[in-house]
């Protein structure tokens, strides 16, 4: 006898992705719904009793009503016993908010909106379960919401599960400590049988499968930006009546983001460009490549041919060339211009007194002018 929980978090429905081109933007927006659908589907396939969503299912408290309704429709497909919904810091709970009113009005019957810091009791697979819910009631807070649990005495005869949302010091950056910060030690001290946490987009623990961890951070099911390099995941967790645990990371996301620095030396080829993305489905990759290094003149000049050819293989590629420089030398000048001519002298002077990059810019413009002539 075991309780099967599918744990996800930080879906961030309603993100706008303004920096991306229209088509991709629409796909990225859509992919977040897709991740939620994937989570429901996976949870059903794994015959989960509970789908636990530990906060930030929505990006903002002003998410469009149609999106909220769509979310509740998606959740309605889950055939397990319960859907536990915890408001996070992005979609914090306030009874005046239209968001949660719409959600409550349209959520499926098996959905429990845990908008109060208290114990919610359930019977799952004939096992008594007490959920210690710690929802967020604001976007920022220097104090976490799990303090109240320290004052309680969990019933050891029941499954005690914490649902909370906030940064965990050891695994997530929260420089100003303003996102309900907590620590693994603090979570451990609560003596819960299972802690399901949201907020940090990186999943925790890092392993794919575990039987020893009690604290789980779902991460986001759908990667949401260049600063997130992982897959989109959820945790499938089994908790038997003896409180033994078995958890497995399940991939849910469609897109994946890479923000990488690619060191180049003389040459730029598609092979070089694709090397970091081996075994990835390029069509679902959103990539920013910071090219760093020097390219031979011809490689530099022809880099867009390579880049454009490569770009077509990805969902989206953004090249940052700030650190990319042409290997622009006197040989190149010699090759192109008559000794001591004005262009020759200018480029040589720029190389000597400024830098190859500036000289190359001057050169490129010369070529443009000459081509136009």
């Amino acid at each position: 006898m075991a309780i099967k929980i599918f744990h996800i978090s930080d879906v961030h429905i309603g993100m706008k992705f303004q920096r991306y081109p229209d088509t991709l933007r629409a796909n990225l927006i859509e992919s977040r719904f897709g991740a939620l659908i994937n989570a429901v589907t996976e949870a059903d396939q794994l015959k989960c009793d509970v789908l636990a969503i530990t906060g930030d299912i929505f990006e903002t408290i002003k998410v469009a009503k149609r999106d909220v309704v769509r979310v509740t429709e998606i959740l309605g497909a889950f055939s397990g016993d319960y859907i536990w919904i915890l408001p996070g810091n992005h979609d914090y709970y306030d009874q005046q908010l239209q968001l949660w009113q719409t959600f409550s009005d349209t959520m499926p019957d098996n959905c429990v909106l845990m908008n109060e810091s208290r114990v919610y009791s359930f019977e799952v697979q004939d096992i008594g379960v007490d959920v210690y819910a710690s929802p967020c009631d604001s976007k920022h807070s220097k104090i976490n919401n799990i303090g109240w649990i320290k004052e309680t005495s969990p019933d050891k005869n029941r499954m005690n599960i914490l649902l909370a949302h906030g940064s965990i010091k050891e695994i997530s950056p929260d420089l100003n400590n303003e996102y309900f910060p907590m620590t693994l030690q603090e979570l451990g001290a609560l003596d819960m049988d299972l802690c399901l946490i949201g907020h940090t987009h990186v999943p925790y623990p890092l392993s794919q499968e575990t039987t020893t961890d009690r604290v789980y951070n779902a991460g986001t099911p759908e990667p949401d930006g260049l600063n997130y390099r992982f897959d989109g995941n959820g945790w499938y967790i089994e908790l038997d009546q003896h409180k033994n645990i078995h958890a497995k990371k399940i991939r849910l996301g469609t897109y994946k983001f890479y923000d990488i620095v690619l060191k180049v030396n003389d040459q730029l080829s598609e092979t070089e460009l694709l090397k970091p993305f081996a075994n990835e489905n390029l069509e679902k990759l959103i990539v920013r490549i910071h090219l760093d290094g020097y390219l031979d003149q011809d490689h530099y000049e022809n880099r867009y041919e390579v880049l454009n050819a490569t770009e077509e293989k990805f969902a989206y590629v953004e090249i940052n060339e700030v650190a990319l420089k042409p290997k622009f030398t006197s040989e190149t000048i010699d090759k192109s211009f008559t000794k001591d001519s004005v262009p020759y002298a200018l480029l040589m002077k720029l190389i000597d007194e400024s830098d190859g990059e500036t000289a190359h810019l001057a050169y490129e413009l010369m070529m443009e002018v000459m081509d136009n002539d």
């Binding site: 706008k16 914090y92 976007k139 700030v322 001519s341 004005v342 810019l361 413009l365 002018v369």
Partner: protein
């Protein structure tokens, strides 16, 4: 020097060897004979890298040009050249994946590409650019250098200026166009952007932006500013909203507590109020009952009191009549008594008058004269007495068995014991016992006479006194005085009697008095007092009656009748029972309150506080609604991301703009340097070539009227005719050859000339050929032409294609 070109396969040429000689070489052949391809092959062998692929544009272009049409997948050539006394063979095979290169030096083959490149670099002296732009250049390109000068002759007035201008535009780069391109590029980036301050011009922010001429930097700056503003705006709204929501939450919790409290106390408000009302009614009934019971009890008593009072009044009034009658009797008695007293007084006065008259009779002898006589006798006695007393005798009974009895002149005797002394006046009679009697007389006076006088007078006096009935002279005097007094009194009484009213009616006062005395009438005061008391009594009774009447009237007004009081009492008792039963069903005032007012006040206060809180919450909810409506749909995090993107882009563009500024600055420096340089060697070479064209008469050439340029012979003023279309070809050739001459000093250089003589008239052709031949004396020249006559005119090593 290039000795030989072996073309294994290049464009349309297969297995073709061309041998070159020193000096002038003329390749001649019809069109499409492969002359140009041969020159391409020569150029490619010298400069085109064998590192080609099939992707780069120029690689593709090269393959298209060099690989034999359709089926050719490679090109292959070799050149043999001499340098520093060594013979070299450079072999290249261009293939998309299997290119080859080798260099044989005096029969030793080198495959290392870098070494080959080093050797070739040393041999070629100049870079590919110099070769492509000068040595292998199309002559048209050089001619074009002078096109600008021709159209803007005012900028070029001297040979030196002409050369400088041509030199500056060498390599096919129009400096004007380049400058324009740099400026436009910079403008595209920096329009309305202050590079120095790194701010928009006039410091105009995105909220008051420049409307026109927005450079890319400014555009991104505005986008970054906008994103930063939106991020901050969003963040502030997010935080403001959080704050308002937290306040709402706190107040709502407070309100919930208040409502709880209110529900606890206000839910029973109606019952408490009803309880209070019923309790009030009950108390009222209790109070009324108390009164009713009292009234019920008192009503008969008051009626009895009233009846008593009425009876008492009646009695007292009878009593009063009685007393008043008595008083009347008493008053008539009093009147009688007044008359009686007057009667009595008069009677007493008459008696007094009688008495006085009697008294007066007793004193009737003692007249005033008698009194005077008496006084004279008394005076004669006194005179005899004084004389007697002046002859005082003293005696002492010295011895005797008996006391001596001494009798004086006046007959007074005293008993004198033995041993005692005594005195007498002028006479003494001493008797001791019965045996002794002795008289003694003084001789100092005429005792006998005196004694006689004394005795006579005394006797006369006594007689007179007896006669008068007086005891002494003094008494006589007194009685005389009394008689006078009585007379006066009598007169007075008589007067009084006359004055007393005398009753005319004949009344027997004493009899009447006796009658009255027998009546024993009380005193008027007593009766009057009694009347007063009775009146007071009546007043008291009357008051009692009035009070009773008043009380009864009150009760009647209030209760109608005594019976009604009883009926009301009965009704009240049953109402009281009903109320008590109803009260037992109702909530009582909670213990914490001492009064209903306090309880109600607490409810009202709590309601007011609740209403105040509701109002505050309402206001805050409106504020929250407002903030929420202002909150963009994008989160602040997404705006910050945009800000960073835009800032990064802007930074890149600023960097590029700075690079452009650097380029422009350096270009200006270079051009300035060009202007400063003398170019004397180039000028000398050009002049040498020019002298061939003008037969040393350039300064005598006629001016073209259309060109407004002054010429002269001494200062190398520009022979403007040179710029006329007819001579431009010659001038351009002269310039090109001069440039080659002056490249890197005096070393021998390769010069590849295309068919540049065909547009010249014969005269100019002659002069150009002379110029080329002159050039070929110092350099290896390959002249390519499709005209045999040109080849013939040029002479030199003729190579037919």
């Amino acid at each position: 020097m290039i000795k030989k070109l072996d073309i294994v396969q290049f464009a349309g040429i297969n297995n073709k060897t061309i041998e070159f000689g020193d000096g002038l070489n003329v390749i001649v052949g019809r069109n499409e004979a492969g002359k140009s391809s041969a020159m391409e092959a020569l150029y490619a062998t010298l400069f085109t890298s064998t590192r080609i692929g099939n992707k780069k544009v120029e690689d593709k272009r090269f393959a298209e040009m060099a690989f034999p049409f359709e089926s050719g997948d490679h090109a292959e050539c070799a050149i043999i050249f001499e340098s520093d006394g060594f013979k070299y063979k450079l072999h290249k095979l261009w293939h998309s994946s299997d290119s080859k290169i080798s260099l044989e030096k005096d029969g030793t083959k080198i495959l290392n590409q870098s070494i080959i490149e080093e050797i070739m670099k040393a041999y070629l002296v100049f870079g590919e650019g110099t070769y492509s732009n000068v040595m292998f250049s199309k002559q048209e390109a050089f001619k074009a250098l002078f096109d600008d000068i021709k159209t803007n002759p005012e900028t070029v007035q001297t040979i030196s200026q002409l050369l400088k201008n041509a030199s500056m535009n060498l390599d096919g780069l129009s400096l004007e166009a380049y400058k324009g391109r740099l400026e436009s590029e910079l403008k595209t980036l920096t329009s309305n952007w202050d590079m120095e301050k790194e701010k928009p011009m006039n410091n105009r922010s995105w909220q008051n932006p420049h409307k026109n001429r927005i450079g890319l930097i400014l555009a991104h700056h505005y986008e970054a500013e906008r994103a930063a503003f939106e991020a901050k705006f969003t963040e502030e709204r997010e935080k403001e909203l959080e704050k308002v929501q937290a306040e709402i939450k706190t107040l709502s919790e407070e309100k919930t507590k208040l409502i709880g409290r209110l529900n606890a106390i206000a839910s029973i408000e109606a019952e408490v109020i009803k309880h209070q009302t019923l309790k009030g009614k009950l108390d009222q009934i209790e109070n009324q009952n108390k009164e009713l019971l009292d009234v019920n009890k008192k009503w008969p008593a008051v009626e009895a009191d009233k009846s008593n009072a009425e009876k008492n009044i009646e009695k007292a009034q009878l009593k009063l009549v009685n007393v008043q009658e008595k008083l009347k009797a008493v008053k008539s008695y009093d009147k009688f008594m007044l008359e009686y007293k007057a009667f009595e007084k008069k009677r007493a006065l008459n008696l007094e008058i009688e008495k006085k008259r009697t008294e007066l009779k007793a004193f009737s002898k003692i007249t005033k004269d008698e009194v005077t006589r008496l006084e004279r006798l008394d005076k004669a006695i006194s005179s005899a007495d004084v004389k007697l007393k002046s002859a005082e005798l003293a005696g002492q009974l010295l011895k005797s068995n008996h006391p001596a009895i001494v009798t004086d002149v006046y007959g007074n005797s005293i008993k004198i014991p033995v041993g005692e002394t005594w005195t007498t006046n002028a006479y003494m009679k001493l008797e001791i016992g019965e045996q002794v009697t002795l008289e003694i007389q003084s001789n100092q006076i005429d005792f006998t006479k005196v004694k006689e006088e004394f005795r006579q007078n005394t006797s006369a006096l006594e007689e007179k006194l007896n006669e008068l009935g007086a005891n002494s002279v003094e008494d006589a005097k007194l009685k005389n005085a009394q008689a006078r007094e009585i007379e006066i009194k009598l007169a007075s009484i008589e007067k009084q009697v006359k004055e007393i009213h005398t009753f005319t009616e004949d009344v027997d006062f004493d009899e009447r008095k006796k009658e009255y005395d027998q009546m024993s009438l009380p005193a008027t005061e007593i009766l009057e007092e009694s009347i007063k008391e009775i009146l007071n009594e009546i007043r008291g009774f009357d008051q009692n009656k009035t009070q009773c009447d008043f009380q009864l009237k009150q009760w009647q007004d209030k209760f109608s009748t005594h019976d009604d009081v009883a009926i009301t009492l009965g009704e009240n008792l049953s109402e009281k029972k009903r109320l008590n039963s109803e009260l037992s069903e109702l909530s009582e005032l909670p213990d914490e309150f001492s009064t209903v007012e306090e309880y109600l006040s607490e409810i009202r206060n709590t309601q007011r506080l609740r209403d105040d809180l509701s109002e505050k919450i309402n206001r805050l909810e409106i504020a929250a609604e407002r903030v929420l409506s202002e909150l963009p749909e994008r989160s602040s995090e997404e705006f910050y991301e945009s800000y960073e993107d835009e800032t990064q882009k802007m930074t890149q563009l600023i960097k590029k703009a700075k690079q452009l500024e650097t380029i422009m600055e350096k270009l200006d420096q270079i051009l300035e340097q060009f202007k400063q340089d003398s170019h004397s060697d180039l000028e000398r070479s050009f002049m040498r070539n020019l002298s061939i064209i003008t037969q040393n008469k350039y300064d005598l050439i006629d001016m073209d009227d259309k060109l407004d340029v002054t010429i002269g012979s001494n200062d190398k003023m520009l022979p403007t005719k040179l710029l006329s279309s007819g001579t431009l070809d010659s001038v351009a050739l002269a310039f090109r050859l001069a440039v080659i001459d002056e490249l890197g000093g005096s070393t021998q250089k390769l010069t590849v000339l295309d068919d540049c003589l065909v547009n010249m008239d014969e005269n100019r052709q002659q002069k150009a050929i002379e110029m080329i031949k002159n050039h070929a004396e110092r350099h290896q020249v390959i002249f390519v032409t499709c005209h045999n006559w040109v080849a013939e005119m040029l002479g030199g090593n003729t190579i037919e294609m």
